[in-house]
Symmetry: none
Subunit: 192 residues, 4 copies
Amino acid sequence: MKKTIEEKRKDVLEVATKLFAEKGYEATTMAEIAKLANVGFGTVATYFENKENLLLKCVEEPMADFLEEVLRFNTQPNDYQEEIHQMTLKHFQLFSEKRLYLLLLIHVTSQWEKYMKPYLIANKAAREMSDKFEQLIQNGQREGKLAEANANVLAISYISLLLGLFLSNTDQFSESALKLYAENATRLFGLQ
Amino acid sequence: MKKTIEEKRKDVLEVATKLFAEKGYEATTMAEIAKLANVGFGTVATYFENKENLLLKCVEEPMADFLEEVLRFNTQPNDYQEEIHQMTLKHFQLFSEKRLYLLLLIHVTSQWEKYMKPYLIANKAAREMSDKFEQLIQNGQREGKLAEANANVLAISYISLLLGLFLSNTDQFSESALKLYAENATRLFGLQ
Amino acid sequence: MKKTIEEKRKDVLEVATKLFAEKGYEATTMAEIAKLANVGFGTVATYFENKENLLLKCVEEPMADFLEEVLRFNTQPNDYQEEIHQMTLKHFQLFSEKRLYLLLLIHVTSQWEKYMKPYLIANKAAREMSDKFEQLIQNGQREGKLAEANANVLAISYISLLLGLFLSNTDQFSESALKLYAENATRLFGLQ
Amino acid sequence: MKKTIEEKRKDVLEVATKLFAEKGYEATTMAEIAKLANVGFGTVATYFENKENLLLKCVEEPMADFLEEVLRFNTQPNDYQEEIHQMTLKHFQLFSEKRLYLLLLIHVTSQWEKYMKPYLIANKAAREMSDKFEQLIQNGQREGKLAEANANVLAISYISLLLGLFLSNTDQFSESALKLYAENATRLFGLQ
DNA sequence: AATGAATGAGGCTTCATTCAT
DNA sequence: TATGAATGAAGCCTCATTCAT
């Protein structure tokens, strides 16, 4: 039973993302990607032109869905406590699930001069997140529901906490552990 | 005026740390390190045997001092509010100052299978930090001064926030910005 | 008109054998082999993995045919005089023709600790030769046709004479010279 | 108790000869020689200028004594049988003892284009040996004591047998084994 | 005289890319 | 369209040599 082109292309992207994230871009070879994706290694070149472009696609293509999920919260909820609880839990679950993708984003970010195009994509997304968090925070502060901290600082701290947690821990978190971390994070916002 | 061996060795270590952190281990060439450190490139090999060992020394040698500074806080202070305020400010300043070193630690951690020896060093340090933070938190909780969260979760969240902040932001923070972030972080502990 | 893979592989092996034999393994560069074999120098790596393995193949692959030719004599002939005359002539011609291969064998033998795998192959062949010569000698002695020397000593002396002649003389022997040396060697066996 | 310069120089030469012979010229490092000779490695350069010249001295200096010993036989003896018996035994003992030196000579001979100067020395010696053997043989033939073979062929065969034996056998021969081989070799001359 | 720190040329190897099938 | 044989650029490392002490 042969796979469609679209399926094979996706296999390659997934394998590449995993390897780029775990071993780094330079240390990952095209041959290794091809092998783990069960395609001939000329095929990878056919699909993605070259290695650099493959990295770009690894960063680019999942971004829309990822960002959409991250930003799926209400900046003017009736109940800030409830909204933020749900949001943090969602984020911790999502970031845990997409850990490899985040690792990849950090890689391209920390070497932004080399990976300019992927970096710009990652950076734009980070700003969008930060902006929407700020809105939520400012709205909550205006209604006296959230701590009176600098909204930008708080937003960036929140993102940093999320990233730092999944980047510096190599092993998976259980569902219950994620819940604990999510609840803990709400304190940043001045809740509880 | 010639530099001593010790000075040149230190130059090499500093340059290597910077490049490994910014560009990644694989993407950094020995020739580049040598050039920026103003030594012939056989000299790097003379000092450090090989690239892998150079990485190890970059991680290993600064660790003792770094760890000592990070752990320089009192786990049973009279005034928890004051102690934690000072501690967080100290940590944000220190992590900002040692940003490159932290980047390097994250690199080896995120690819721990490849960089086993450096990873073990980084990991041991992380556990020591986490342990001492936990002690502080548990003591504070026993006296009713800190939030009743799981101490381990809180400690790891605090470290994650610190790491995440300096890893995902490529530019320097001003002294006043650091102060804001530090104060903001105290909320994690349930202060203010 | 393009060469087949098999032809190119053989070209590389021949060039490598020649250079390894004439200049020594260490002094021969992969680039030199590739150039003389008219292939790109990555190609040599594609065919043979690495230099060490190339040496192994140079020793290994021609051995079966070579050994078969060397051992093509009758250990119980009717006419020992005739058989040994023909055998020695054959051997001197063969060793002259395969001079480069023999040089290579001596190289790996004289540095056996470094070239373990090729050495074992060469050594096994040497023992097979020696064994079959001994049989011939013992049979001839039993029938009173050959000198009453220690058979093992005689066999090894014969091989040594063959090897020594072609190793220590850098230039080619003419057909008539070979005949002279061959006849001369029969005296070792106590003939004539 | 410090060694004299002359003693240290000799140590270096001996170590170098051993290593050049066993591992080959290219595979032997100056550092290794210096270490085994218990001198600093700049010292080797001070004594011998450079590696190439060290090789030359390894070949050159022992040659006079060696040649003198090899040529110490009478080309017009009263008893050819006796003289040749004694000569062969002497040669087999000497070549066994100087096996490393002979290996070295073969090395430089088989790569004569690279090691021109050492090669010329070795070659000149070989011709001197061959010439004196020829004289002995021709004299013996004239008196009807030796086989009527081509004297040059016989001389070269004899040298070849000696060289081949010690080059292709990696292990030491016992005194009694040497005696067997020596006696066996006399048959080449038509004795016994 | 003796040493070894510093150096960079050159080799082996890896690997992204090209191209003919 | 999919493949992998062929290629050579570039990196790490080894090591002979130089030179200041």
